[in-house]
């Protein structure tokens, strides 16, 4: 049984200018002990989808899904109180901005022990011991002293370690890491990723790693789901995806990797992810796609060979494409 199982997740925001569908029919599953990466540009609904799992979206969001289950237990039907027993304990999440994600008014120790007290009912001494142990585990030196520090006294990297310590405090079965390294500088990024992967391997928890970067995907995950404008455009194992991307968007993302770049300029995909007001009627990627045909612009694509595309790629060849047959990149 999958740890997390989502089918056709839809999240719609009510905004002052009408409805906006930020997540549009996303399905994914994570097994115990597995690392799933979710990749996509900014605005593709990665965070919103995972916040929906956590139940942390604002009240303007409407969440629906054919199925959203954790260990076989339906998450959508839970009362707020029942869900609070699961999140923070069995499902934990860390966020992009470590420093603003920690409360400036409380010590690191307080913020770690809070989860322990709430979910495990540990007493004060046991909490302190466990909190120091957790800091040790996430690689913070002199943990006993650090427990008394406030977030503003620590660096961003240290704060992200603290966030990880909070998240793994109750030995979660699933950890969702939402771009845990984006706000950190490069050397620290590698350390934090390494830490996450190591913790995942040691504890056997499931890990969902949200990222912008195909580079991060290659280093960490086994399976990857590519999301674009709220839709999942394709999903494969990392090895297969890098070898043979099916969706032109994935191919473009891979071509944008610095190490695959030809020439001096860093390649990028022209255009931006459509937002609320410029959603195309057909394929959402069509306006930016080198292979788009009139059909792509008018008709939403079917899911073919695991990709949400009219002409999925196969070894770089667009299947059934009327005109050119070269690669998307």
């Amino acid at each position: 049984m999958a740890l997390l199982d989502i089918e056709d997740l839809e999240v719609t925001f009510r905004t002052s200018s009408g409805q906006f569908r930020a997540v549009d029919g996303v399905s994914l599953h994570v097994d115990a002990g597995e690392v799933l990466a979710i990749v996509g540009e900014s605005g593709s609904g990665k965070s919103v989808a995972m916040l929906a799992v956590m139940g942390l979206l604002p009240w303007t969001a409407q969440v629906s899904a054919r199925r959203m289950a954790f260990e076989g237990r339906d998450l959508l039907g839970l009362t707020a109180r029942e869900r609070r027993k699961i999140i923070g304990k069995d499902i934990a999440m860390i966020f992009q901005e470590p420093t603003s994600s920690l409360n400036p008014c409380f010590t690191v120790g307080f913020q770690i022990t809070e989860a322990l007290r709430t979910h495990l009912g540990l007493d004060h001494r046991a909490c302190q011991t466990r909190a120091a142990e957790l800091l040790q585990l996430v690689g913070i030196p002199a943990p006993e002293q650090r427990l008394k520090a406030f977030p503003h006294q620590l660096s961003g990297g240290m704060n992200q370690r603290v966030m990880i310590a909070i998240a793994i405090a109750c030995n979660p079965k699933l950890l969702i890491a939402d771009e845990p390294t984006t706000a950190l500088d490069v050397t620290i990024q590698a350390q934090i990723l390494e830490l996450l992967v190591k913790l995942q391997a040691d504890t056997g928890m499931g890990l969902v790693l949200i990222t912008h970067s195909m580079g991060v995907v290659a280093e960490t995950a086994r399976r990857v789901s590519v999301q674009y404008a709220g839709q999942k455009v394709e999903e494969q194992t990392v090895a297969d995806l890098f070898r043979d991307p099916r969706h032109p968007y994935t191919a473009a993302l891979l071509a944008a990797l610095p190490e695959r770049a030809v020439g001096r300029r860093l390649p990028s995909i022209p255009g931006v992810v459509p937002g609320q007001f410029d959603r195309p009627p057909g394929c959402l990627f069509a306006p930016r796609c080198a292979l788009a045909t009139p059909l792509c612009h008018t008709t939403p694509p079917p899911r073919r060979e695991g990709a949400l595309c009219h002409y999925p790629l196969h070894d770089g060849i667009a299947q059934g494409h009327p005109g050119r047959k070269e690669t998307a990149a």
């Binding site: 956590m54 942390l56 707020a80 869900r83 609070r84 027993k85 699961i86 999140i87 923070g88 304990k89 934990a92 999440m93 966020f95 901005e97 603003s100 994600s101 920690l102 409360n103 400036p104 008014c105 409380f106 913020q111 809070e114 989860a115 709430t118 979910h119 406030f150 503003h152 006294q153 966030m163 909070i166």
Partner: protein, 337 residues
């Protein structure tokens, strides 16, 4: 911290001198002087008038009077009341506990109701509670003290007969020596049955009247600060831990939201003392506010001047204390050097 305090104190000295000068001149600009307002129907002979003025130093030029006064102040001498002939400082200190009791209870009233009201309004943003509470707050904020006091007296005392109209204690039924100057405490210490309840009865209306504006300000400030904080990432983190809504709002959000509220509370202290002058007059509350009004009517220059300086000093000290409290609840300030 100590250096910070010294610096802040030093900064208040020019304010203090300016205040002293302006009040000194303004008091003397008001038509009539201490002798004229006492001369009565039959008047006073010009020679006697001149003699009295000379005795009080009022025939000196204003700048000379001012320097004399400032000199006295430097030696801790606030002058002597023209009416009672008692030292101004002594009179002030005798009356101040009554004012302190009134303002403190009004402030506690405002804080105890205002903060929860703001929190409830913020967590039910746009809902019925929010709109009702904020409507009430706006009404309370616009309520003139005189009018509000009279309305409450009419309703509670006249019509319903629930509370006394004036004073701090029913002198016919109870008498006890002041120990702390706080009626609530002294009445308990006296051990007389019913005395405490009587003191509460006397306090309750003036407390509400004086506390209404700060209550409204605190409620509105708490609400807006809370709304801002509830959007913060760390509130999301707190929710992601699976904490109860009460804990997320009451501990994680409120602690941060209180930082600007504390500042506002500090800023209310000046207004509160000004309001106390009116409130004490309406309710014949024997505090420094009522005493100041009487000093104005009698043109008791030293009492008036001394009273204003002392109140200004208190406001300054309270604001300093608030600044320190601010550092206490905001670790980012506490650790900044």
């Amino acid at each position: 911290m100590f250096r910070f305090l010294l610096k802040r104190l030093a900064l208040t000295i020019p304010t203090f001198i300016a205040l002293m000068f302006i009040t000194f001149v303004m008091i003397r600009l008001v038509p009539g002087d201490p002798i004229e307002v006492r001369k009565g129907e039959r008047g006073i002979s010009p020679e006697r008038l001149a003699q009295l003025r000379h005795e009080m130093g009022l025939d000196q030029p204003v700048w000379k009077q001012f320097l004399d006064y400032a000199n006295g102040l430097l030696h801790g001498d606030f002058g002597t009341s023209i009416i009672s002939k008692a030292p101004v400082l002594h009179e002030f200190l005798t009356l101040f506990p009554a004012t302190l009791e009134l303002t403190l209870s009004a402030m506690i009233f405002a804080i105890v109701l205002g903060i929860p009201a703001g929190v409830i309004a913020a967590s039910r943003r746009g809902g019925v509670y929010d709109q009702t509470l904020m409507g009430l707050a706006l009404t309370g904020y616009s309520m003139p003290i005189f009018w509000w006091g009279l309305i409450l007296i009419l309703l509670m005392s006249n019509t319903l007969g629930l509370t006394p109209v004036s004073g701090r204690v029913d002198l016919i039924k109870f008498y006890y020596e002041p120990v702390t100057g706080f009626m609530l405490i002294d009445s308990l210490l006296s051990g007389q049955k019913g005395a405490f309840l009587d003191a509460v009865h006397h306090l309750i209306l003036p407390m509400i009247v004086l506390g209404t504006v700060p209550l409204a300000v605190i409620a509105r400030m708490t609400r807006s600060s809370m709304l801002e904080v509830l959007e913060e990432d760390y509130v999301r983190t707190a929710r992601a831990k699976g904490l109860s809504w009460a804990r997320v709002v009451g501990i994680h959000a409120l602690r941060n939201a209180l930082i600007p509220v504390v500042t506002v509370i500090g800023l209310q202290v000046g207004g509160l003392l000004a309001g106390a002058v009116l409130t004490e007059t309406i309710f014949s509350w024997p505090g420094v506010g009522k005493w100041l009004i009487e000093s104005i009517n009698r043109r008791d220059y030293p009492a008036l001047q001394g009273g204003i300086m002392l109140i200004a000093g208190i406001v300054i000290v309270v604001n300093l204390l608030v600044d320190m409290l601010y550092g206490l609840i905001n670790p980012r300030i506490r650790h900044a050097k």
